[in-house]
Symmetry: C2
Subunit: 314 residues, 2 copies
């Protein structure tokens, strides 16, 4: 038997090509309990680039007190090719983080806002309205230095304290982050409560507010098993950038279960079946994720990685 | 914090109500390595009925040599209310199985055909063409006895030996099973290789061949993480019956990974968010599946069960 493959049957009305924005090394590893050695992280990023991913978020210049898993950000950045053809963005929480990113030679940064008051208070030590004043100097300095800026907005579908989040509130926050000068807005379902209809309605609302769908990325978590169905619904609304995490690494510390990000491999499998181009070599991805799962000492949460890595060891 | 809930946002064009056909006690447990005591199975079926499931496939009258997990079928049937308001179908592989089902007092049976030659040879000891002759006396006798008959057709998207399965071949086999007198055809992705576009194309092909969509059920496995996305695609094609397995119990013995059926709870979560009625109490389902996971001595494969059962024990 050869490796199983999905039959390619493209439905009508979906994009011909999408960009997978890989978040495993940052969003994935920051939510794993294990501390991964910096040389393993550097090798992981190189393997992901070699697998054909067009962009790989490498780390975060957040204070090590908050995210000890990424305390080696400067050391990791020094080991990576930040001038290479594949952008390796880093998250910066504030001006101090931007200083460190600039010192490291980063060309692409991401900021991380909140769609809800409570998460802005708890995670950003800020406020739904005052967060923009906090990000403004970060973005304007970054742009002046010639950097590209992506904005994340988290808790876009539900919040563990506030429950369901009003769609117009998410659109308002997202637009303000874009207006600061971000080139792309990543719409995050941080606690994984989105379902397909809600996803479609939120994308439609951004469209009605004048935001081009090409500036939106979707960032799904699989806490309730919905991530890939939500991605399919988003494809139907014309979304062409999807955040995904190699091997399904990570998970939101505020969610009660251990389930993490949408797995890159499960997304790639679906895109392959839909005939949508993405440029990623699935076998190389599975190998990289199975290798990282061994370093973490547990099976990959990705169904595709489990199925195909099992196969490889038959 | 109260239990998280998806925000209800119904997209246009989906069915208002669906039937969840629960397969956990049969398709789930027959693919678990553990042998579950008959009294635990009976309690499990009762809990699933109490959770509001409209139909629960209870067991299979297959020869115990092939499926030792279900060797207690007659004993289990004797402990269940086969005359109750909720149908409790049983799988019957052949005339001997039908005899046993009739002795047990079953009112609803299911037969299990193959869309491919190789699986018909290996699983049915038959043939793609001769399987119908094998099923004909089973179905005609069952109908004469006043029983309702469902037909499964397996390997509808891919087969581990033959690869991708031609859509017209699946439609031809499925139609012949319906023509024997089955009231419903359950279209099975036995090895989990279906993707959303393939699902839609197969449903469309049945429609073009004159089969009413109301006679079709979809049966997805999550081997490559696609089950729920495929269910969402099938909803968009008007499918109103979905097979699902409590807690994601089971798995195909021919697939290399351990991932099993679409989890009932993950489907219920999506349907709740889509505003589609189904009649199932999610909390009662999670409780029943967490209880069974304890009997099996391992965590539930269902993301919803893991997330909500973790919560309950905080």
């Amino acid at each position: 038997m050869t490796r199983p493959l999905p039959m390619v049957v493209p439905p009508t009305g979906l994009p011909a090509r999408v960009t997978i924005y890989e978040v495993g090394p940052r969003d994935g590893l920051q939510n794993e309990s294990a501390i991964v050695p910096v040389e393993v992280k550097a090798e992981f990023v190189r393997r992901l680039v070699d697998a054909g991913l067009p962009i790989v978020e490498a780390t975060s210049f957040v204070h090590p007190k908050w995210v000890p898993q990424l305390a080696d950000a400067a050391d990791l950045a020094a080991r990576l090719d930040l001038e290479g053809a594949v952008p390796l963005p880093v998250l910066v929480p504030n001006e101090r983080g931007l200083d460190r990113a600039l010192e490291a030679g980063s060309k692409h940064i991401a900021i991380f806002g909140s769609a809800t008051q409570t998460f802005a208070e708890r995670n950003l030590n800020s406020d739904l309205e005052t967060q923009f004043a906090m990000f403004e100097p970060v973005v304007s300095r970054a742009l002046a230095e010639g950097l590209d800026v992506r904005a994340y907005v988290s808790m876009c579908f539900g919040d563990p304290w506030e429950g369901a989040v009003p769609i117009d509130q998410v659109v308002r926050v997202g637009k303000r982050l874009l207006d600061l000068g971000a080139s792309q807005l990543s719409i995050g379902d941080t606690i994984g409560v989105a379902t397909a209809g809600h996803v479609g309605a939120l994308i439609d609302a951004f469209g009605s507010a004048g935001v081009d769908v090409d500036r939106l990325a979707m960032h799904f978590h699989d806490t309730y098993g919905q991530a890939l169905a939500n991605a399919y619904a988003a494809l139907g609304k014309g979304i062409t950038t999807f955040d995904a995490s190699a091997g399904g690494l990570g998970g939101c510390p505020y969610a009660k279960s251990a389930t993490g990000n949408l797995a890159t491999e499960d997304l790639v499998w679906m895109l392959d079946g839909l005939g949508i181009e993405h440029g990623v070599d699935l076998d190389a991805m599975v190998e990289a994720s199975a290798w990282m799962a061994k370093h973490l000492g547990r099976p990959s949460p990705s169904a595709v990685v489990r199925a195909l890595a099992d196969r490889a060891t038959d």
